[in-house]
C-alpha cells in the first residue's frame, strides 16, 4: 500500500491543478458561466489537449489508459475549481458506459471523438417518478426490424442540453421497476423525435428534460446487453459516485482552507476571530470531517473497480454516506463561520457550499445510502 502519487500521477496533478488555479480563478469562472452554454468551449479544447478527455480510456481505444486514481486526481482538482464543463457527464458517466458497455467497433467510433473534444455525452437514466432507482424505467424501446423505437421522458439529465450523444435507459420488457428488461441506447441528440429543454442547476451546471417520441436508433446502437443492461448502469453509477467523492474532496478542502484563512484575517473585537477557541475547535471538527471524507474518497477509488458488485456497492454506499455527512458539516460550518459574507454570491465559499449540497443529492443522498448499506449488512463481518 502506498498513498503517494507516482511520477506520472504527480505530473498529471500538477498540470491539472495549475490549469484550474489559473482558469478557475473566481472572476474567470464567472466569465465561463456567462458563455452561451454556461461553460467554456475553449477550455474544453484545452482539456482535450492535456489528454484529460481521453484519460480513462484504454490506449488501444485511443485513450491514455488512466485508472481510478487518475480520475480521482482530475476530479478533486475540478472540485476545487468548481469546474463548469461537462467532464463528469461526458467522460465519467458517458465514458464509463462506453468503457464497460461498448463493443470494439463502438469504442473505435466514440472514444477518439470523446478524447479530442468533438463529442459530448450525457446519460439519461432518471425519470419523473424514479427518484434514485435506475431500474424504475417507464421509457420504452420497441424492436422494429433493424431498429429500436424509443419513447418516453427522461429527467434531470446532467448536461443533456449540450450533449451530442445521449445514452438513454429504456425498457424492452418487464414491469416498471423490474431490474431485468432494460437497455442502454445510443441516441444522437439531433435525431428526429428528440426534444430537450435545458435549465441551470442550483450549483451552476446545466441539466435537461428530454422527451423521446418515436426516436429510431439502429439495432446495434446499444451498450451492454439489451434487456440486461442494469448491471452496466450500476457499475458505471458506482464509478461515478466514486468520482463525485473525489470531486467533493476538492470542494470541501477549498471550503476549509477559505474558512481557516478567513478566521485568520477577519478582525472582530480587536483581534482575528480565529483567536476564539470555540471557533478554533469548530474549524478542527471541520478538518476532521474533511479528512474522514478524504479517506472514504480514497476507499471509493480503491473499490470502484471491485469485481463483486455487492462488495462494490457496499463500499460506494459507505463512501457516499461519509461524503454527504462530512460535506454537510463542512459546508454549513463554512457558511456559519463566515457570517453574512458567506451568504453572498459575490464571495466564493457559498458556491462551494451549493455544489456540495447538490452532490449529496446526486445518485441518492446520505440517508438513502446508509439505508442501503444497513440492509446489506454493513461493512464489517
Amino acid at each position: 500500500m502506498d498513498f503517494d502519487l507516482n511520477d506520472e500521477q504527480r505530473l498529471l496533478k500538477d498540470s491539472v491543478d495549475k490549469l484550474i488555479a489559473t482558469e478557475y480563478e473566481f472572476e474567470r469562472r464567472k466569465r465561463h458561466a456567462a458563455e452561451p452554454d454556461g461553460w467554456s468551449r475553449a477550455l474544453w479544447a484545452k482539456y482535450a489537449d492535456l489528454g484529460l478527455l481521453g484519460l480513462p480510456f484504454a490506449e488501444a481505444d485511443g485513450g491514455f489508459g488512466g485508472g481510478p486514481v487518475e480520475t480521482m486526481i482530475v476530479l478533486e482538482s475540478f472540485g476545487r475549481g468548481l469546474v463548469l464543463e461537462p467532464y463528469f457527464a461526458t467522460v465519467v458517466l458517458g465514458g464509463g458506459l462506453v468503457r464497460h458497455g461498448a463493443s470494439a467497433a463502438q469504442r473505435a467510433a466514440l472514444v477518439p471523438r470523446i478524447a479530442d473534444g468533438s463529442r459530448l455525452l450525457a446519460f439519461a437514466w432518471m425519470e419523473r417518478q424514479s427518484r434514485y432507482n435506475p431500474a424504475d424505467v417507464k421509457a420504452t424501446a420497441r424492436r422494429d426490424g433493424g431498429s429500436w423505437i424509443l419513447n418516453g421522458e427522461k429527467s434531470l439529465v446532467l448536461h443533456g442540453d449540450v450533449a451530442d450523444t445521449i445514452l438513454v435507459t429504456a425498457r424492452i420488457s418487464g414491469d416498471q421497476r423490474d431490474r431485468a428488461g432494460i437497455g442502454v441506447f445510443i441516441v444522437d441528440a439531433s435525431a428526429p423525435g428528440v426534444q430537450r429543454r435545458g435549465y441551470p442547476t442550483q450549483d451552476g451546471l446545466r441539466s435537461a428534460e428530454i422527451t423521446l417520441a418515436d426516436v429510431r436508433v439502429d439495432a446495434t446502437d446499444t451498450l451492454g446487453e439489451p434487456g440486461d443492461a442494469l448491471a452496466l448502469v450500476d457499475r458505471v453509477t458506482d464509478e461515478a459516485i466514486a468520482g463525485l467523492c473525489a470531486e467533493s474532496i476538492g470542494v470541501m478542502a477549498a471550503m476549509h482552507e477559505i474558512t481557516v484563512e478567513y478566521l485568520k484575517t477577519r478582525q472582530q473585537f480587536g483581534r482575528p476571530i480565529g483567536d476564539f477557541q470555540a471557533l478554533q475547535h469548530r474549524a478542527v471538527d471541520m478538518f476532521v470531517a474533511l479528512e474522514q471524507a478524504r479517506s472514504m474518497a480514497i476507499f471509493a477509488t480503491m473499490m470502484a473497480g471491485e469485481a463483486d458488485p455487492a462488495e462494490r456497492r457496499r463500499a460506494i454506499a459507505a463512501a457516499k454516506v461519509q461524503i454527504g455527512r462530512s460535506g454537510r458539516k463542512v459546508g454549513e460550518e463554512a457558511i456559519q463561520l463566515h457570517g453574512g459574507i458567506g451568504m453572498t454570491m459575490e464571495y466564493k465559499v457559498g458556491h462551494y457550499f451549493k455544489r456540495m449540497t447538490m452532490i449529496d443529492r446526486r445518485f441518492g443522498d446520505a440517508d438513502l445510502h446508509l439505508a442501503t448499506l444497513a440492509r446489506m449488512g454493513g461493512l464489517f463481518g
Partner: protein
C-alpha cells in the same frame, strides 16, 4: 402551576386564527407557505389589513396603537400569524424603529412617524451593520458631522434588508470621533430620497435579492431627525436589539412547515410507497417535532417570565429561543429537500412577477434548495448563535 390555557386565552387564540385565515388574502399566505418571494405590495397589503384591525403594533404604547396584551395573547398572536403563513408586520418598522421613536423620540417625531410606520405608509430599513463590523457592531465607522441645522453623513451600511423598497433608513452614525467605541454614536432617521444615497443589491446564494449595501456620500440630514440625545444612540440600539423576545423562535412557522412537509411527503412516492411511510424519514421528522414541541414550551416559559422582568430588559433565556429556533427552522428546510429528492438540483429563477420557467419535477421543488440556502442566515443574523452562546455563558452561567 396551571398548565392549561384559560377560556379567555383560548378564545383569543380562536379569534386570531379566524382573523389571519380569513382576512389576509390567500394568495399572499400561499407565497409564504411555499417559500416564494413576496412583493412590496404583498407586505404592505397584509400589514395594512392588520393595522386596520389594530393588530399591526400590539406591543406599542396604547396611545400609538398598542393593545396591552398579556404575554400569552402576544404569543398566540404570533403563533397564529405564523401558522397561517401571514407575513409578519415589517419588523424594521414595528419592532425596531417604531418602539425606539415611541420610547426615545420627541413628540413631533412620534406624530410624524408612528402612525405612518404602523400602517406601512413609510417603509423603514435598518442601517446598523457596516462592512467589517459584523458581531462587533459598535466598531461602526459611518460619520455624521454637524453643519448648522444638518448632519452631513458619510459612510457605508451593509446587509440592509429590502432597502430597495424603503422610504427611510434608521442609522447608527458616529457623531463624536474622539469618544470610546460605544459612546459617540447617534441614532438618525434619513430619507432614502436624500441626495448622496446609493443602494447596491447584494445577491444571496439562494439567488434572491433581499439585502443591499447602502452608500452615504455627503448626505445632509436635518438635526430634527436625530432620535433622543446626540451620542446616546448605542443605548437605543441595545434597547432595539433586546426588544424582540417572543417570536424569535418562530415556532408557528416551523409547525406550519412541518405540516407542509407531511402533506408533500404523502404525495411523493418512493417506488409504490409514499415517502411519509418511510421509517427513517418519519423518525428524522419526529425528532425535529420533539425539539419543536420542547421549544414551544420553552418559549411559553420565557414569555410567562416576562412579567417578572424589568420592562425592556431582555431575558438572556431568549438566547435559547434564538439558538434552538434557528436550528429547528434549518432542520425543516433540510427535510423539505429530503421530500423533493433529486429535483432539489434544478434551479428556477423567480422574478418579481413570478416564475419565468415551467417547473422541473413537482411544482413545489423549486423553492426547496433556495430555502435551505437562504435559511442559513438565521443562525447568523440578529446576533449569531455564537454571540447567543456568549450571552448565556456570561449572563446565565456566570462564566
Amino acid at each position: 402551576m396551571d398548565l392549561s390555557f384559560t377560556p379567555e386565552e383560548r378564545a383569543f387564540r380562536d379569534e386570531a386564527r379566524r382573523f389571519f385565515r380569513t382576512e389576509i388574502p390567500q394568495a399572499i399566505r400561499d407565497k409564504v407557505a411555499e417559500g416564494r418571494h413576496l412583493s412590496r405590495e404583498d407586505i404592505v397589503t397584509s400589514q395594512r389589513i392588520m393595522n386596520a384591525r389594530g393588530w399591526a403594533v400590539p406591543h406599542w404604547p396604547r396611545e400609538w396603537g398598542g393593545q396591552d396584551w398579556s404575554p400569552i395573547q402576544t404569543y398566540f398572536y404570533q403563533d397564529e400569524m405564523q401558522l397561517a403563513s401571514v407575513p409578519s408586520p415589517l419588523p424594521f418598522n414595528v419592532s425596531m424603529v417604531g418602539p425606539v421613536i415611541a420610547t426615545f423620540g420627541n413628540d413631533a417625531q412620534k406624530r410624524a412617524f408612528l402612525p405612518q410606520i404602523a400602517n406601512l405608509d413609510i417603509w423603514f430599513c435598518q442601517g446598523f451593520s457596516e462592512p467589517g463590523s459584523g458581531s462587533d457592531l459598535a466598531s461602526l465607522r459611518t460619520t455624521a458631522k454637524r453643519d448648522g441645522d444638518h448632519y452631513v453623513v458619510n459612510g457605508q451600511k451593509t446587509w440592509t434588508t429590502l432597502a430597495q423598497y424603503a422610504d427611510w433608513i434608521f442609522c447608527l452614525v458616529r457623531t463624536d470621533m474622539a469618544a470610546k467605541k460605544q459612546e459617540g454614536i447617534s441614532f438618525l432617521l434619513i430619507d432614502m430620497k436624500s441626495p448622496g444615497i446609493t443602494v447596491r443589491p447584494i445577491q444571496t446564494i439562494d439567488g434572491g435579492r433581499e439585502v443591499n449595501e447602502v452608500f452615504l456620500d455627503e448626505v445632509r440630514v436635518p438635526v430634527a431627525n436625530l432620535v433622543g440625545q446626540e451620542n446616546k444612540g448605542w443605548d437605543y440600539a441595545k434597547f432595539l436589539l433586546g426588544n424582540e423576545r417572543t417570536g424569535i423562535a418562530r415556532v408557528g412557522t416551523s409547525k406550519e412547515r412541518i405540516r407542509r412537509i407531511k402533506q408533500l411527503a404523502a404525495l411523493e412516492l418512493v417506488g409504490d410507497t409514499p415517502l411519509i411511510e418511510d421509517a427513517h424519514f418519519r423518525e428524522k421528522l419526529a425528532a425535529v417535532e420533539v425539539e419543536l414541541k420542547a421549544l414551544e414550551l420553552t418559549q411559553l416559559r420565557v414569555v410567562a417570565n416576562e412579567r417578572k422582568l424589568a420592562k425592556g430588559k431582555p431575558d438572556p433565556a431568549s438566547s435559547i429561543l434564538k439558538i434552538k429556533g434557528s436550528e429547528i427552522q434549518q432542520a425543516t428546510t433540510e427535510l423539505l429537500m429530503d421530500v423533493v429528492g433529486p429535483y432539489v438540483t434544478a434551479y428556477r429563477e423567480e422574478r418579481e412577477e413570478g416564475w419565468n420557467e415551467p417547473p422541473v419535477g413537482p411544482d413545489y421543488a423549486a423553492t426547496a434548495a433556495p430555502t435551505y440556502f437562504n435559511w442559513r442566515k438565521i443562525s447568523i443574523y440578529g446576533g449569531s448563535n455564537e454571540i447567543q452562546r456568549n450571552i448565556i455563558a456570561k449572563a446565565i452561567l456566570g462564566l
